[in-house]
Symmetry: C2
Subunit: 310 residues, 2 copies
């Protein structure tokens, strides 16, 4: 077994339009780069090599909490030194906290002889999400661990995650530099929804899953629509309606809010279209005078993975 591993842990899209709290998709990039090293000293020590000023105390750090959850299931005395270089900006809505939490548990598992299943790793990494957003949820963790297209079918009584193949897809994401806290974006959600809208929503969920599994791009496009969450969050994300309009005009299949925002994602059939869609998305925020970053890349078939071991 290695003493130290280097892990790449990818950005992820959660919700995917209609699939609030359930569906997720792994990207190939951007990703966090994480070194996990076995230490004789018990416990977890986190260092960040980036400029985001994240807390490094284990109990306040998403990676720290994830590893502490894992260590509870390890009988022998062992600890981990962790060095994180965030490639994914925190608060961007593409699973930044999930990437760190997933990456460290994948790294630690490699140092422990891969004794844990992916489902167990998701369970550990969810402890990190509690630090980031106050809730134990897996919709970014699941694709960050499994890769591809994921369904969090149940958290209780047992965690049940489906890892499904994704068709070839290119993703364009625009991250406008406005702050939308996950906790704020949860506050605007309705506590109850009309049954008729819920039916339309799960009809789209059925369509989206069928579209992914049968590689039907047109079906994916028309199934992404979100009748419940996006309308509630629309006011939090300036430019969303115009961004979608321009992205569709540039050839995107469809898209929506990435996670709890403020990033906006669009799915595309080819790299060329995704590049054009990325530019179209950016043009909206240029005109609004809001700084932004654009990511364009393919869907990631793998989740967090060890790229080198010493």
């Amino acid at each position: 077994m290695p003493d130290s591993v280097l892990v790449h842990s990818p950005a992820t899209l959660s919700n995917l339009g209609c699939g609030f709290d359930v569906l997720g998709l792994a990207l190939a990039a951007p990703y966090d780069t994480i070194r996990v090293t076995r230490a004789a000293a018990p416990g977890v020590r986190i260092r960040h090599f980036d400029s985001y000023r994240l807390p490094t105390e284990s109990a306040r750090n998403v990676a720290g909490m994830a590893l502490l959850a894992l260590l509870k299931e390890v009988p022998e005395p062992v600890g981990f030194d962790v060095e994180i270089t965030k490639g994914i900006k925190p608060g961007s809505g593409v699973g930044s906290s999930a990437a760190s939490a997933a990456g460290v548990v994948v790294g630690a598992n490699a140092l422990l002889g891969n004794r844990f299943t992916n489902m167990q790793l998701v369970d550990f990494a969810m402890a990190g999400e509690v630090v980031a957003c106050g809730a134990r949820h897996a919709d970014n963790i699941a694709p960050a661990i499994f890769g591809g297209f994921t369904v969090v079918r149940a958290l209780e009584p047992a965690l049940d995650i489906l890892a499904l193949p994704a068709p070839p897809l290119w993703v364009a994401v625009v991250h406008p530099q406005i702050e939308v806290k996950t906790s704020d974006s949860r506050k605007v959600l309705p506590t109850e929804v009309p049954l008729g809208l819920a039916v339309r929503q799960w009809a789209n969920v059925a369509g989206l899953v069928a579209g992914f599994l049968t590689t039907d791009y047109a079906l994916i496009g028309r199934s992404l629509d979100d009748y419940i969450v996006e309308p509630a969050r629309l006011a939090l994300i300036p430019g969303l309606a115009e961004a979608r309009k321009r992205a569709l005009a540039a050839g995107a299949i469809g898209g929506g809010i990435s996670g709890s925002g403020p990033s906006i994602f669009m799915l595309n059939e080819t790299e060329a279209v995704a590049q054009a869609v990325g530019e179209a998305l950016g043009s909206v925020f240029t005109e609004l005078g809001i700084d932004f970053n654009v990511y364009v890349g393919p869907v990631g078939s793998t989740g967090a993975r060890v790229v080198s071991a010493d």
Copy 2:
């Protein structure tokens, strides 16, 4: 083109547990047997060869209304004489009205050179469902026309139905002889549902679609659970909880209320298990002193179809 055709139009399961108003599954049997004959006289004449005393006036008969909707799209003067032998008992919750409506439009289409698409036929047949239950819905019509496993993704702005392959499955249905009107079973539904329950419901819809498309019986089984509609209708169907318990003990994958009830369906991997499950379902109603019928048969890969033409 033939002058007269004989059509078999199958029973169907709608809702399929979690997929209220959206999912459907065609059975191979029972089915209605319907003769549709081209007539020089315009309009539609319906005769029933069964003992159910259904209205035969076209505007009050599901098959009549479906054919009148179809005739609006036929420019030439033509009419239809229809003879229906119901193999599916009305009010049983396995798509009796949908079978008649679907069967006649499939028959009429054959007499008109198959000029209409399946999607158009669903649209016509939905006019029949308005007579039967007061609402324009397609969750039984879709599998009755397309066969297999269907998703009614949208009724508006355009009808969008997905016809998906179903894995080999055997269905056991028990029809207790109690009356549950579709209109009554709609009245007990909540108008609003908690967002958290809606999320659990569409997680199951995602799981069920993935289970069908990947032939994962265990996934189908654990995804069938309905958190919203079944709890509201539980009181209308005595014996449901006990029936499920005995069916699962007999080897069923899972099941629930068929359509708006009172029938209860269970999905099974083999004919032998389905037979045992059918007996288990029946035993509950024997003990309750309620008469019942049990149907056991495979999922039907085709919907309504012409079996002979003259």
